[in-house]
Amino acid sequence: MVVGERKPFDEITGMLEGHKKIMVLGCGGCVTVCLTGGHDEVRVLSSQLRMARDNAGNPIEIVEKTVERQCDPEYVEEVSGIVPDVDAVLSMACGAGVQYVAERYPGMPVYPALDTTFVGGSTKEGYYVEKCQTCGACKLFYTGGICPIARCSKSLLNGPCGGSTKGKCEIDPEVDCAWQLILDRLKSLNRMDLYEENMAVNDWRTNRDGGPRKMIREDFQR
């Protein structure tokens, strides 16, 4: 899933300066799962904002709403009746969701309440880690199911570098060395032969380096 983290409160209040009535718009997708932008978080953030503005003698009116997904025009349409009544939308979706809302409502300021951080998953409740960098050309076949592009700090296709120490990355003793994990997996799969093959220079055109990407299902284009 796409993982997001709520922006610092002061940054959010800074964006909302001058606005009197806003909608805080949650998303029922990934950010609900990672506990940062769903129905519950909309309620919490809205309360905090009301309280802060009340304390500052500058109250704000907030409409709370959460849609199924903000990365889908169909669901973004659902709030078309509310938008004309507010003077800004604070979206708690990932960066994709924020943009769908902004695109649908010209002239309406739409602000991000989250920093979209990575594509990953949880290892335990409330603890999320990056797993994929969406490079567009999956190499997990060669690397025992562990991604060196997302999980090696230097994205080395022929790692590990000389900084791998006791299974950890040189940049942080809390971070696993992806290449140690890859080697452990290859060994368990009896595929250490894959390690000895040099991986050729990568074609980054499928990554964002090739420009904004799209994926088209031709059978749905009729």
Binding site: S153, N158, G159, C161, I171, Q180, E196, W204
Partner: protein
């Protein structure tokens, strides 16, 4: 191991003629003053065959490796241009290879590069378009096949002697020989190792290298760094990733009176070189006296490595 000399590199000629090679290191300044390089060059001249010019080492901005190498050549010395993959994509890398070769640089060392987290611009975006192994094959292809990575022909190929680093002390130990084999397969011609303090572990690695016959395919120069003080030894042991300083060496430095610690550090370096000279598969040493260039000559002299041969 002999083989045909492919470049004008003095280092290559010395290694291919079977003589024990010595390389040194020169860190460029954090400013535009060429005199800093010239001063270091005066200290290092004739003390080794060639000298690495580091490329923004530990991710701290310094004068460029290419520019510093040119200043070194003006002083009549042979540089080894270090190049890291952290700061350049394949377009800039190939362009700098052409530029360096055109300016007269004869040796190049291919490195991944320290992560920018360690430097003075931790906010920087890193590149890592290609890695050190892919950099080796890139420069070999440019030199030997006259082709860019993209496939086009090069008019006027860069004649560079191609080196890389190896760290036998990083984890996991079991793949450190296979990783060298990967670099050899990519076309590396000489290797400079991480600083050797743990000779026992290094010998174990070298045995693996020799057992696989890799020492017949690549020249291996053992890395040697003198401790300036017990404090430095302790810092390297505790804070430098991938560094292995055994307790007995720390004890030895600690047990030496402060005023004699520098001398003891040099003694340890000389002893290390003497042991390396006896080790099967070792073709030379790489002396890295970090911000202590004036001692390279003394170490080389005491280890019986001077005068350097002329080829």
């Amino acid at each position: 191991m002999n083989g045909e000399v492919k470049t004008e590199s003095k280092l290559e000629k010395i290694l291919r003629s079977g003589q024990f090679a010595v390389t040194g290191e020169c860190g460029p300044p954090r400013g535009a003053d060429a005199e800093v390089i010239r001063h270091k060059c005066k200290l290092l001249k004739d003390k080794a065959d060639a000298f690495n010019i580091t490329d923004n080492q530990t991710s701290v901005v310094r004068m460029s490796s290419i520019a510093s190498a040119v200043i070194m050549m003006q002083e009549g010395m042979e540089p080894v241009m270090q190049m890291v993959c952290r700061d350049r994509n394949r377009i800039a890398i190939q362009s700098d290879i052409l530029g360096g070769a055109a300016l007269g640089i004869k040796n190049m060392l291919c490195l991944s590069g320290d992560h920018q987290k360690f430097g003075d611009h931790p906010q920087a975006k890193n590149v890592f378009d290609i890695d050190s192994i892919q950099l080796i094959s890139t420069v070999r292809r440019m030199r030997d096949e006259g082709k860019f990575l993209g496939g086009d022909d090069i008019k006027g190929v860069p004649k560079l002697f191609v080196g890389a680093a190896a760290n036998p002390f990083a984890d996991p130990f079991e793949i450190r020989v296979p990783r060298l084999a990967k670099k050899v397969a990519a076309g590396v011609e000489f290797i400079q190792t991480q600083c050797i303090f743990n000779l026992k572990k290094f010998s174990e690695w070298m045995k693996g290298v020799v057992d696989r016959g890799l020492h017949e395919k690549v020249f291996i120069l053992g890395g040697v760094t003198p401790f300036k003080s017990f404090g430095m030894a302790r810092y390297m042991a505790k804070n430098v990733p991938g560094m292995d300083v055994p307790d007995e060496l720390l004890e030895r430095m600690k047990g030496t009176p402060k005023e004699s610690q520098a001398e003891e550090g040099i003694k340890i370096a000389v002893e290390t070189i003497q042991q390396l000279k006896e080790m099967k598969g070792i073709a030379g040493v790489h002396i890295m006296a970090i911000e202590w260039e004036e001692k390279v000559g003394e170490i080389a002299e005491k280890a019986g490595l001077l005068p350097r041969p002329s080829v």
